[in-house]
Symmetry: C2
Subunit: 178 residues, 2 copies
DNA sequence: GGCAACATGTAACTTGTTACATGATTCC
DNA sequence: GGAATCATGTAACAAGTTACATGTTGCC
């Protein structure tokens, strides 16, 4: 129901090929809505059939040709209409938290190792977000589009900070009670 | 790949019917791993076929009969083996954050209303988590199983606190820049 | 009698993942 | 020659949602 709209969001800023979109969904907007390339190509076909996108072939020098997609007026209207619809908070789905529910029946040392691993991953992600903020959003006057992205990025930063401190405390608590 | 394991986690604590499991996945463990009832019944059948669960019919007075599932030894081993496998951090997927990426092309007043709505929902969820903590985890000596659940609940509380403060700040920023 | 909660399911569909498949170009 | 990156796809499967379907019991 919504990869469709996330694609419209990406294309509202600039025309992109499937490959470029896949890269966006692996970084940038991908921090808040991930998608794999088979899913993207499948969705592009559907959106084109619905008339929300048009495609044009671009030949490139030194690289293989690519098919670039652009929003149609109908596509931009669909994006606007979608933006008016209510959204539910996303459901949390985390295997690590589920494992904590069975603390008696799982491998404790393995869990500790997994918490360490998570801690490191969230630290790395946090560094990445902070780097992006410094390099791309440091200017005092941002366009409103950039402003929006920055607000989302702030959520990313807090989210990772939260994970980092939670992992640290969880490790401490579990060590003391071992 | 993992509802299967979340069910094993639930049944490692106590035997449950499909209906009871559905309730757990709507509250409790459901805060960290949600599942709908068709999915649960489908999974129970598979787990039973694999020999990880057995079912027994329980006749009840004053209520319809139910089928109660219990872990087999194989099931408990599968749970332990799963707990040793590495876990990836879950992907964030949030339409509201995606909308911020297209701040120029969406309905701004609608977005503000959605942020208000989210704020209220996260506040409510936070109240709920705090109530659970006070009523169910206030005791100084918790079993190790309860300890684990409390650590997960702490994540839930921080997660919601984070959302609440982010929503407040996002609303403020967007109001000033309107 | 009607509603809410209990209890269990199926069918159809959408969404998402993994593995496979192909071929171009650039750089070492 | 081989690896990396660019570029686009298909096929099969797994996971998740929504709507439909059925019947019980307790309570007002």
């Amino acid at each position: 129901m919504a990869l469709e709209h996330a694609i419209l969001v990406c294309l509202s800023e600039q025309d992109l090929s499937g490959y470029d979109l896949a890269k966006q969904f692996d970084t940038s907007i991908g921090f808040f809505w991930h998608a794999s390339h088979p899913q993207i190509y499948r969705e592009l076909r559907k959106l084109k059939d619905q008339g929300l996108l048009v495609s044009t072939d671009h030949s490139q020098v030194g690289k293989p040709n690519k098919t670039v997609y652009s929003l149609t007026d109908t596509g931009r209207e669909a994006l606007f209409a979608w933006s008016q619809r209510a959204v539910e908070p996303p459901a949390v789905k985390d295997e690590l938290l589920v494992r904590l529910y069975a603390l008696d029946d799982i491998d404790r040392p393995a869990l500790m190792a997994q918490l360490h691993d998570r801690l490191e991953k969230h630290q790395e992600r946090l560094r990445q977000y902070r780097r992006i903020k410094e390099t791309q959003y440091a200017s005092p006057d941002l366009s409103s589009r950039q402003q929006g992205k920055l607000i989302a990025l702030e959520m990313g930063i807090r989210y990772e900070e939260n994970w980092v401190s939670w992992c640290e405390e969880a490790l401490e608590t579990l060590t003391n009670r071992a």
